[in-house]
């Protein structure tokens, strides 16, 4: 029914939390505070609609800011992998 050419930006949807690609420095400091290598973060595929929309590439680290009913905002990180 819906034509495949009509792409919708997932970021405008109210249920999609804010995603952003970290700069090298930010990524480095996140990994430093957690004391881990990038692959020890949870992964997200580069083909994920939101990652495509924000232009994430394999190797990037993405910050996701979710709404939390208890503490307002909660921050998580994901490592972009190919696929």
């Amino acid at each position: 029914m819906r034509s495949s050419s009509k792409k919708i930006d997932p970021r405008v949807h109210s249920l999609v939390p804010k995603h952003e690609v970290l700069s090298i420095e930010e990524a480095y400091s996140v990994l430093k505070t957690l004391g881990i290598g990038p692959e020890q973060l949870p992964w997200i595929k580069a083909s994920d609609p939101v990652i495509k929309a924000i232009g994430g590439k394999p190797g990037d680290i993405v910050r996701i800011i979710r709404k939390s009913p208890v503490i307002g905002e909660t921050v998580i990180y994901r490592y972009v992998v190919s696929g």
Binding site: L34, E39, R66, V75, I76, Y77, S82
Partner: protein, 885 residues
């Protein structure tokens, strides 16, 4: 010997050379014992495979039975056979490599590139390396022609379970294991590596067996049955089969038998070797014992619930545990468990002798294993273990007790033990209790702790485990004891609390009309431990002074509340005509507690019930400590039970018997519904029925009928309940939430209503009808499982049948659901079992991989939260100000 540290374990495929190297003997004969019953050398019971009888010395390693590890032998297979566990890998390898030169069917450039990528990523990105290998394999399988030798490739066909064919021009040609082995041997090591195997530890051709290891006898012991006849292990039987066929195959080949016969025997050998590994291969007949029982071969030993992994490694039988039937005891504390004396005399706690306990421990030693409280063993300072059963003069032995000895004494009162009921679905399925040794043969537990275990007393059994070290005991006591687990981490509310009679008792005591005499009050308080000062206060001030001093029930329960406790809220009975939304409540269904005095409202399920978050009980435990919660459970609930014992509570037929006017009204209503249904059917037949959007006409009719009948039952229930006395016992139990519901009362007093199977009216059974008592195509209410009768009036045979059909579905559903949710639970637990919260608040695996950057996204421990919230501002205001915002 050098001390070595294991850094890792590597798995590979055994090579034939390795099999021969670790073998102590070749197994060559299928006869096992000679006439006098001694094992034959060169048979599967060859003595060099390890000692089996006590006292003997192993001819291979010289050890006696306990210390000989057992030794492998081997069978030289006359013709190679496929290892059934590697069929998939063999299939892939055959397709991915050239049939002539054995190379990957990719150009050298491609291979070089892939090798470079592979070696770059395999250390850090194992999962990406796996994907690369899959890709290389896919590309190589695709190639029709070998780029190295130019050979045209044929399609390989696998006929499950282990037959390979090549689709040549002349037709299907079978590839024998020898052909396959020849091909696999040709694959160079470098290509093997790019196919994902380590050629040093797993050469592809080793997947075709030429030598078969024969496991030591210790893993397949023969057992003596009473008659003195030897029964061999299933593995031994299977190995004998293999040796026998191998022998016959050799003889046939040597005798120059026709190709056909040789091939048949070869196939048979393949079958036996395959079923030796796994006797549940789809497409192969299972190998059976003479009695017809399927053989339990290697894979069967490992697989499933009783297999090596789930049955012996993940879970095993343990010492210092007991299991028996449970029964209730309202008189013991909620964190106690009643233990039968017989159990207490077998289970022991090791207690180290000190100068402070030496006299007590001497008493235990003197009492010995037979008399409780005694002791079963003493471990001397030098580590020697003395069994007190065999000490002749225990009195004298007790005098030799000195500090440093350890006495394994019987279980005594106040010992901390872990109590458990399966299925252990959450952590509060295992809690620590304090022991109370009691006469009898059952474990006793307080009724209030039934909800976390989901226990009842219809024959349930529970397990008891005794922690054996000071650390374990301390941990159990501090973390696992019942009153530290009254609030569940599942939803942050009290999981322990009153049920059934406790609720009825609380209601009957707190209801407006209840006045108790001084004597009754004393009876109730006699079972409770009330602090002197609050006792003195209430006894001064009865609600009624003359003509008799009488206390209200509300005064009684106020004795148990802290003097600064405030609460407002609806009771469970606040519903329907007796609902109240604020303090101005004529039905006594709105609870008001000010400064620890119950001023208004009754205590029922909403106030003190189990699994009721944000209730009075929840706030009491949360705001006045778990120890106060424990005290409350041990005292106020006992008073309720004492009161209900004095008051009495039962149900009679009269409680569900409705007046004749009400019956007449229901009959009238039934007639009305009947005519509505027949009118619907008539309109449907005439085609006048209005169709519901998205449904067929038939479905619409069903919907209309269901609606009509549902209304009928609701109306009948309404008529019935309004004719019943709201203060009759059954109705009280339903309204307070003690037991039963309004629906149950409706079904008892008015009618059962529609019975359903698979969410529809019952429609199957006979051709176009449910039972032969109806005309074909009859879709009236009574022909499709509607029951007009009540349990009070009784069901007719047809109604009984429909009710049984619906009841059966319920049972089947439960059985299916529990097995499915059990499987899901197992998988979740295995996936999550080793995760932990680190000190930085992150949730990580044992390898440091981050699962959550902040526990739960908010760092909240639900057990310590106010029903999931970090702070409940409304409750704080209510608590301090004494009224709701």
């Amino acid at each position: 010997m050098d001390e070595k540290i294991i850094k890792g374990v590597k798995f590979g495929v055994l090579s034939p050379e390795e099999i021969r190297k670790m073998s102590v003997t070749a197994i060559i004969t299928s006869d096992v014992y000679d006439e006098d019953g001694t094992p034959i050398e060169g048979s599967v019971m060859d003595p060099r495979l390890g000692v089996i009888e006590p006292g003997q010395r192993c001819p291979t390693c010289g050890n006696v039975m306990g210390s000989c590890p057992g030794h492998f032998g081997h069978i030289e297979l006359v013709r190679p056979v496929i290892h059934i566990g590697f069929v998939k890998q063999i299939y892939d390898l055959l397709r991915a490599t050239c049939r002539r030169c054995g190379r990957l069917k990719l150009t050298d450039d491609e291979i070089d590139r892939y090798v470079r990528i592979y070696s770059a990523i395999k250390g850090r990105w194992p999962s990406a390396a796996k994907r690369l290998i899959e890709y290389v394999k896919k590309m190589s399988i695709k190639a029709q022609e070998c780029p190295h030798c130019g050979e045209k490739q044929f399609k390989i066909k696998l006929e499950k379970p282990y037959n390979f064919y090549e689709e040549r021009k002349e037709g299907l040609v079978r590839l024998t294991p020898t052909d396959i082995r020849d091909r696999l041997e040709k694959i160079p090591d470098s290509d093997v590596e790019l196919l994902g195997y380590d050629p040093k530890n797993s050469r592809p051709e080793w997947a075709i067996l030429t030598a078969l290891p024969v496991p030591p006898i210790t893993i397949r012991p023969s057992i003596m049955i009473e008659s003195g006849i030897r029964a061999e292990d299933d593995l031994t039987h299977k190995l004998v089969d293999i040796v026998r066929i191998n022998e016959r195959l050799k003889e046939s080949i040597d005798a120059g038998a026709p190709q056909l016969i040789v091939e048949d025997l070869w196939d048979l050998l393949q079958y036996h070797v395959a079923t030796y590994f796994d006797n549940e291969i789809p497409g192969l007949p299972t190998s059976k014992h003479r009695s017809g029982r399927p053989l339990r071969t290697l894979a069967q030993r490992l697989k499933g619930k009783e297999g090596r992994f789930r049955g012996n490694l993940s879970g095993k039988r343990v010492d210092f545990s007991a299991r028996t039937v449970i029964s209730p005891d309202p008189n013991i504390s909620i964190d106690e468990v009643g233990v039968p004396e017989d159990v207490a005399k077998v289970l022991t706690v090791p207690e180290r002798v000190t100068k402070w306990n030496i006299e007590r421990l001497r008493e235990y030693v003197i009492n010995g294993p037979e008399k409780w409280p005694g002791a079963n063993y003493v471990i001397k300072a030098d580590g020697k273990r003395i069994d007190l059963r065999y000490v002749k003069d225990r009195k004298e032995f007790a005098s030799t007790l000195t500090p440093g000895f350890v006495v394994e004494r019987h279980l005594i009162d106040q010992d901390v033990v872990i109590f458990n009921r399966q299925p252990s679905l959450h952590r509060i399925s295992m809690m620590a209790h304090r022991v109370k040794v009691l006469p009898g043969r059952t474990f006793r537990l307080n009724l209030l702790v039934c909800p976390p275990y989901n226990a009842d007393f219809d024959g349930d059994e529970m397990n008891l485990h005794i922690p054996q070290t000071e650390e374990a005991i301390a941990e159990a006591k501090q973390l696992m004891i019942v009153h530290r687990n009254m609030l569940t981490p599942r939803y942050g509310g009290p999981i322990i609390g009153s049920a059934q009679d406790y609720i009825s008792g609380a209601y009957l005591l707190t209801v407006k009309t209840t006045l108790v005499t001084e004597q009754e009050l004393q009876t109730m308080l006699g079972v409770s431990d009330i602090p002197e000062e609050s006792l003195a206060k209430v006894l001064e001030e009865p609600a009624i002074l003359a003509p008799k001093r009488l206390y209200t029930g509300k005064q009684v329960v106020s004795l148990f509340l802290p003097s600064d406790f405030n609460f407002h809220g609806q009771a469970n009975i606040s519903s329907g005509a007796r609902a109240c939304k604020d303090e101005d409540c004529p039905h006594d269904s709105y609870i008001v507690i000010k400064n620890g005095k119950l001023l208004e409202g009754v205590f029922d399920k909403k106030a003190l019930g189990n699994q009721q978050p944000e209730s009075i009980l929840h706030w009491l435990i949360r705001e006045y400590s778990e120890d106060y919660g424990l005290w409350l459970m041990d005292n106020i609930f006992k008073a309720f039970i004492r009161y209900i014992e004095m008051h009495g509570l039962t149900m009679t037929l009269n409680d569900v018997t409705i007046s004749s006017e009400a019956s007449a009204k229901i009959a009238e209503r039934v007639e009305q519904a009947r005519s509505q249904v027949s009118e619907l059917i008539e309109r449907f037949n005439k085609g006048e029925l209005e169709q519901i959007p998205g449904r067929t006409l038939e479905e619409s009719l069903e919907n209309y009928i269901l609606d009509t009948l549902d209304k009928l039952r609701n109306d009948s229930g309404e008529i019935a309940t309004s004719s019943l006395d709201p203060f009759n016992n059954v109705y009280v139990m339903a309204r307070t939430g003690a037991r039963g519901s309004v629906l149950n009362i409706t079904q008892m007093a008015a009618m059962l209503g529609q019975q359903s199977v698979r969410g529809e009216r019952i429609s199957r059974g006979y051709y176009e009808r449910t039972l032969p008592h109806f005309k074909r195509g009859d879709i009236s209410a009574e022909a499709r499982g509607f029951i007009y009768s009540s349990f009070r009036s009784g069901l007719n045979p047809i109604e009984t049948f429909f009710h049984a059909a619906a009841g059966r579905e319920g049972l089947v559903d439960t059985a299916v659901r529990t097995s499915q949710s059990g499987y899901m639970q197992r998988r979740l637990i295995n996936a999550l079992s080793d995760l932990r919260i680190e000190y930085d608040g992150t949730v990580r695996t044992l390898y440091g991989e981050v699962i959550q950057t902040f526990y739960g996204g908010d760092g909240v421990n639900p057990m310590l939260s106010a029903h999931g919230k970090t702070v409940d501002v409304d409750r704080i205001v209510e608590r301090i100000v004494g009224s709701k915002r």
